[in-house]
């Protein structure tokens, strides 16, 4: 492979890695309350959730039977999960001065309630929620999403 192509490959690799790094290390939200068995899956490892625990982009919240969790994101979005549920905070970027950014929440299974925060109030198109078969756009709202599991 020639010199130029090799350089392009290295630059692309660094750019790909830095996209991930830009989100790394910054808290995007906090666990407020929890009941029963609640875990936060981050980088493939499951951690027991605790009240006050900081959440990062790409974190997956997972609840067991008779369990639930309530969280708030940095733009004051409120969310809760019911029992036997899993939702991922797939993307979250928020500038509190400009109130700009974007968020994507992925409901994997179970139930999730979502109340729009400052990001959605200023720019509804910046907020997306998806389920296995649907995508949801908002207009300043409070809603529930339920995805039935096989069991």
């Amino acid at each position: 492979m020639n010199e130029t192509l090799r350089n392009i490959c290295w630059v692309s690799l660094v750019m790909l890695l830095s996209v991930g790094a830009a989100n790394a290390g910054e808290a995007i939200g906090t666990v407020k309350t929890l009941k029963g068995e609640v875990n936060v899956v981050r980088d493939g490892a499951a951690m027991k959730a605790t009240a006050g625990m900081r959440l990062m982009a790409a974190d997956k919240l997972v609840t067991g039977a008779d369990s639930s969790v309530g969280i708030a994101l940095q733009d004051a979005t409120l969310m809760s999960l019911g029992a036997k549920s899993a939702t991922q905070l797939s993307e979250f970027r928020y500038d509190p001065v400009k109130r700009e950014g974007n968020m994507l929440i992925s409901v994997i299974k179970g139930s999730m309630r979502f109340v729009t925060g400052l990001l959605g109030k200023q720019n509804p198109s910046a907020v997306g929620i998806r389920t296995p078969t649907a995508t949801i756009g908002i207009r300043g709202t409070d809603f529930i999403v339920s995805v039935a599991d096989k069991d």
Binding site: M1, L5, R6, C9, S12, L13, L16, T30, V31, K32, T33, K35, A51, G52, D66, S67, S68, V69, G70, I71, A72, Q74, A76, L78, M79, S80, L81, G82, A83, S85, P96, V97, K98, S111, M112, R113, V115, R130, T131, P132, T133, A134, T135, I136, G137, I138, R139, G140, T141, D142, F143, I144, V145, S146, V147, A148, D149, K150
Partner: protein, 203 residues
């Protein structure tokens, strides 16, 4: 191509594939229900699925997705409470906001606002895992940059007052929004005391 570039291409392609949504049909039903806005304002969601797009603009209206079908459905508040008891009850409390005002062009609170600080502190203590955002604002007298700095200073002054009152600095976020969000709209350069304020949001 050599081994290095073959490896790089595989990594890039795998990354893209990992992002694709699952292609198998869903095992069960999906239900999406709009709830009333806490302040009674108009609200709505748009659900896109199976090539269709459905808007829901009335509280307790919803969509059921099953076997490739998209159906509108109406629920009652009682039904929602029965179907989703935990997720309804587990939602954190709505944030509560306080507006504090300043004497003239500095960072000294008015007497009325100084008295509000205790109420703020009590709200913080009431909540599990509390967080506070202190947002400074200015009127439009002065440049945008100067007002961003002034609003940041005001917000920091209020943060310091909260910390002196026992609130942990770690849970307080300070934001200066300059002239971006006046309470009372004015032309640029106009002094307006009502815009010189700090908003404290407790969640």
């Amino acid at each position: 191509m050599d081994a290095f570039s073959a490896w790089l291409l595989t990594v890039f392609v795998l990354f893209l594939l990992a992002d694709e949504p699952a292609t198998q049909p869903p095992a069960g039903k999906e239900t999406i229900v709009l709830l009333p806005d806490a302040e009674g304002k108009s609200t709505g969601i748009v659900v896109s699925s199976q090539g269709q797009q459905v808007a829901v603009t009335e509280p307790y209206q919803g969509i059921e997705l099953a076997g490739g079908k998209v159906e509108s459905k109406t629920f009652s508040a009682a039904q929602i409470k029965n179907m989703f008891p935990e997720v309804m009850q587990a939602l954190p409390d709505q944030p509560r906001s306080f507006t504090l005002r300043f004497e003239q062009n500095g960072t000294r609170l008015t007497a009325e606002s100084a008295a509000m600080v205790e109420e703020v502190r009590q709200e913080i203590v009431k909540r599990p895992a509390p967080e506070v955002t202190v947002i400074g604002h200015t009127d439009r007298e002065g440049s945008d940059e100067a007002n961003l700095r002034l609003s940041q200073n005001r917000a920091e002054a209020v943060r310091d007052i909260l910390v002196a009152g026992g609130v942990s600095a770690q849970i307080v976020q300070v934001v200066g929004r300059g002239e971006l969000e006046p309470e009372v709209a004015t032309a640029d350069g106009v002094a307006e005391p009502r815009n010189r304020r700090v908003e404290i949001s407790v969640r």
